[in-house]
């Protein structure tokens, strides 16, 4: 069940001139959310922008006793709404609707989990890694960005026991180039009987490339898509993604049937690129 909370901004941590992490006091949402689910945020109370924006839940925030206190979101400023979220101040109130959507299905050991993140696509993996760590599932985070300075929160994942494979477009950390180059190298080296499930979130071309690698190397890939959304609750039919169902293809709502999809059923050529 989704709730709409007027959440106080607990903290706004600026990571760079574009990226920030907003901590929001929404304990009911934190308590109900599963990894990969999202929230719809109203960046300001006025009419411009009118609509909410979808965000993956980044962290579940807890008090020292472990009780849920809220969630955080990883934001990149690209437009008016995301700029308002970038400049939000502690004490501000932001409407948070959620939790929404279908979550990831975390795998159990001995199967391994490989998470592939590009930029803000890191967001859904912090809670997934927590779940995987609880299960004792071995995990690797393939993490790509423009430069080493854009690879945020690496410690968060290493502290949870994740093995990190980095890639940067300028070569300042890890593999020089796209994260999918590093992924393919590791896939090629994998023994066929070594069971691995891949989870991917990031720019659409990256997720498409991961889906292709998954198909080529016979590994299941689960992607978290983020098309333009109107309502997040199934009302508007604007966030549709074309998927294969049996011999047919059809548009399904990514807010209800996603945002997490089996990458092998997504018709990638029909997806909006760049949003």
């Amino acid at each position: 069940m989704a709730v709409d909370v007027s959440a106080e901004v607990i903290a706004n941590t600026r990571l760079s001139s574009d990226y920030n992490v907003l901590a929001l006091a929404a304990p009911t949402i934190a308590a109900a959310a599963f990894p990969g689910q999202f929230v719809m945020l109203k960046s300001s109370p006025g009419l411009d922008p009118l609509l909410r924006r979808p965000f993956s839940i980044f962290e579940h925030l807890r008090d020292p006793d472990g009780a849920p206190t809220g969630i955080s979101i990883l934001n990149k400023r690209v437009g008016i709404g995301t700029s308002q979220l970038y400049t939000a101040r502690p004490g501000d109130r932001i409407a948070v609707l959620g939790p929404l959507g279908r979550p990831f299905v975390p795998v159990h050991p001995p199967e391994e989990a490989w998470m592939v993140a590009g930029g803000v696509g890191l967001a859904p993996f912090a809670t997934l890694a927590e779940e995987l760590a609880d299960r004792g599932t071995p995990m690797t985070l393939f993490y790509g960005a423009r430069t080493a300075a854009d690879l945020y929160y690496r410690d968060l994942f290493t502290e949870m026991g994740a093995h990190l494979v980095l890639a940067t477009e300028d070569g300042s950390a890890g593999t020089h180039g796209r994260v999918t180059i590093a992924l393919e190298r590791e896939l090629r080296a994998l023994r066929p009987d070594h069971r691995v499930t891949i989870y991917a979130c990031g720019p659409t071309p990256m997720m498409h490339a991961v889906a292709q690698l998954g198909a080529e190397y016979g590994r299941y890939v689960s992607v978290s898509l983020e098309p333009t959304m109107g309502c997040g609750m199934g009302g508007c039919y604007s966030c549709v993604v074309r998927v294969r169902i049996g011999d047919d293809t059809r548009f399904v709502r990514s807010c209800l049937d996603g945002p997490v999809f089996d990458a092998s059923i997504v018709i990638w050529d029909a997806l909006q690129v760049g949003h």
Partner: protein, 308 residues
């Protein structure tokens, strides 16, 4: 507590606040978060006889105080609706208005017949005004004889209340209200969206895959209020007013202009759990003004001393 009940033809609504078609899915999507029985009614997404795929994305774009959409009436068709959604809506106690579409008069009539035979449909809203697809009824909604013909044909095949949803993309919307009344409609809904367009100047491409779309949201509210007011002068039929309503005050504006009930569409995307607040806000207003029934407020615009 004022009396909030209103009547549209033979249907009595517990209150005058409905969820607008195309903005609330089939209603069941919201059942976990909203008690659908508390709404005056739920107008479900437009249905043809068969399934429809709709337009490819991008299907929406935001504009100042509003948004454009060109969904293209993606839908499951009337048969699947009756089998898969209607029983659930009925069980949940929703007052169900079904928005019906057709590419021909025969298709409208067949959809109307199927729904008339089903259990749990309160009324039919006739979509003769979708701006986004050529065969979505707009060919009927933009012509007075077309409006008359489709409404009178559907009138012959169903005993359910029929409510044409009018387009604002005409010169004189009141003449379409009159044509609907003469053809035997039980009420009219207005307005559907305003045909509009937005362009990405960097790429010099339309922001919607369909090039044009329908503008909705608070940006259109003053025009919609004016159109409801004009239609109130022209016909006796109950009017379901809509266009940019976000709260009780906005809803009251439409009721005072002449709407018997209101529908909320775009605001449902922004504040989907607002329904109790809107209904309570109307109730509180009536109490504050010592008006015992919302019916006394319909068309209660004070115009003495203003130019006629």
């Amino acid at each position: 507590m004022a009396d909030l009940s209103v009547r549209i033809g033979s249907v009595e609504l517990a209150n005058p606040v409905l969820a607008a078609s195309g903005c609330f899915g089939y209603g069941v999507e919201y059942a976990d978060s909203i008690d659908l029985a508390r709404l005056g009614g739920v107008v479900v997404k437009g249905l043809f006889l068969g399934e429809r795929e709709g337009h490819r994305p991008p299907r929406i774009v935001e504009t100042p105080g509003g948004m454009l959409n060109a969904i293209g009436l993606q839908g499951i068709g009337v048969y699947r609706f009756v089998a898969e959604k209607l029983p659930e809506l009925h069980r949940l106690g929703a007052t169900v208005f079904v928005n019906i579409c057709g590419s021909t008069i025969d298709e409208y009539c067949e959809v109307a017949r199927v729904l008339s035979d089903a259990e749990g449909v309160a009324a039919l809203e006739l979509n003769i005004s979708c701006p986004n697809i050529k065969e979505g009824g707009i060919q009927f909604g933009c012509s007075l004889t077309g409006t008359y013909d489709v409404v009178s044909a559907i009138r012959k095949v169903t005993a359910l209340p029929i409510i044409p949803k009018l387009t604002p993309n005409v010169t004189d919307v009141a003449s379409f209200a009159r044509a609907s009344e003469e053809a035997g409609a039980d009420g009219i809904s207005l307005v559907n969206t305003f045909l509009a367009m937005a362009i990405d100047v960097e790429t010099r491409t339309p922001k919607l895959s369909n090039v044009m779309g329908g503008l909705s949201g608070p940006a259109i509210r003053p025009i919609a209020v004016r159109m409801v007011y004009e239609c109130r002068q022209a016909v006796k039929l109950p009017i379901l007013g809509m266009g940019g309503i976000t709260n009780a005050t906005d809803a009251l504006e439409f009721i005072i202009a002449g709407a018997t009930a209101v529908q909320i569409g775009t605001a449902n995307f922004v504040t989907p759990l607002m329904w109790d607040d809107v209904i309570a806000g109307i109730d509180g207003y009536l109490d504050r003004h010592r008006i015992p029934s919302v019916n006394a407020l319909i068309g209660a615009l004070e115009t003495s001393g203003y130019p006629s």
